[in-house]
Symmetry: C2
Subunit: 200 residues, 2 copies
């Protein structure tokens, strides 16, 4: 086998969810693309990894010191939505329903994986709130044990700002989900937090 | 969204089977890798696309003028296995059951896709055979209409070498396949070319 092919297949199969078969298919596809296109794709990967920064205010991915959201004057600076990771910001932005700022923790507290609160960008969040002007902190964390632990921990730390409202995103049955297949905790929570459709 | 992230997601989602969601997941994974690893992965993609060559003898991918198989003195030069594409060479090599040479056509005849015999490396194959020393040509093409057309065309062209044996790989029920789900043509062919287990 060609060493050049062997190398690229080996490298691509380091990516998650990409086995050697898929890596081979992708590599052979590169031959069908223009050389300039492949060079540009490769360059974008190197550039992203070596030049990307983290926003000094919210820890989101950024090309500059501040991310596009934190430096956008039209965003509502009185609300901060706290998320686990960068992908969550993108998911929420895609809904186009939120106009506040974000704060990316960079993970969740996980004793199992050795992630302590000090490993997360929590102090930066508290510093930002202490600077004033924040009315509400929305905790948009996953419903995993680690997410709930982090939620509990953050709620405690946020007690030092009694004037700031703290909320969590609603838990319930997702759109397109069958109640039959939802777990009991979710169903119980969804029942308890039911929304009034008609006041009888 | 960060332009660097936007760029890499856009570039990666040009690959087959990789949508924007997967491209985003892969991009974020790059952040968890060492920068040198990502640079090396990107470099292997550029290098592969810009430096790979086609073997002057068999049209297989190659780093040099001749591919590792054609330049391996231990391979049997009297047998040539004709395949559609590079991936087929790898699949057959993985079986470790074949020790002859290959010939990569670079596709199959397909009037629908505008691929004529002249678009394939057929003349190179005939030139190689004309140089002598070849006892058998194995046609290992797909069982598609295009594969069968190409098989028929090649068989005709190979008539100019009456001393060279021409064979095709066996058609039949694949290992792990249920007869119930095989198509009629395959079943009919498999019945007709049945293998004797015991001479009664």
């Amino acid at each position: 086998m060609s060493k050049l092919l062997d190398d690229v297949v080996g490298e691509l199969s380091r990516l998650p969810g990409i086995g050697r078969r898929t890596a081979l298919r992708l590599s052979l596809h590169l031959l069908r693309m223009d050389a300039e296109e492949v060079v540009r794709m490769a360059q974008s990967m190197s550039d992203f990894r070596t030049r990307i920064r983290y926003c000094a205010r919210c820890n989101n991915l950024s090309d500059e010191e501040l991310c596009p959201i934190c430096s956008d004057p039209s965003r509502d600076r009185s609300v901060i939505c706290v998320v686990e990771q960068v992908g969550d910001v993108l998911s929420i932005e895609n809904t186009r329903q939120y106009n506040g700022l974000y704060h990316v923790l960079g993970g969740v507290i996980s004793p199992m994986q050795g992630i302590a609160p000090s490993d997360l960008k929590i102090d930066l969040l508290l510093d930002n709130i202490a600077r004033g002007g924040v009315r509400e902190v929305i905790l948009a964390l996953g419903t995993t044990v680690e997410g709930e632990t982090t939620l509990f921990y953050l709620t405690r730390r946020l007690e030092q700002f009694p004037d700031v409202k703290v909320s969590t995103i609603a838990r319930g049955i997702g759109f397109g989900d069958e109640i039959e297949y939802a777990d009991e905790l979710t169903i119980a929570h969804a029942l308890h937090n039911r929304t009034l459709v008609r006041r009888g």
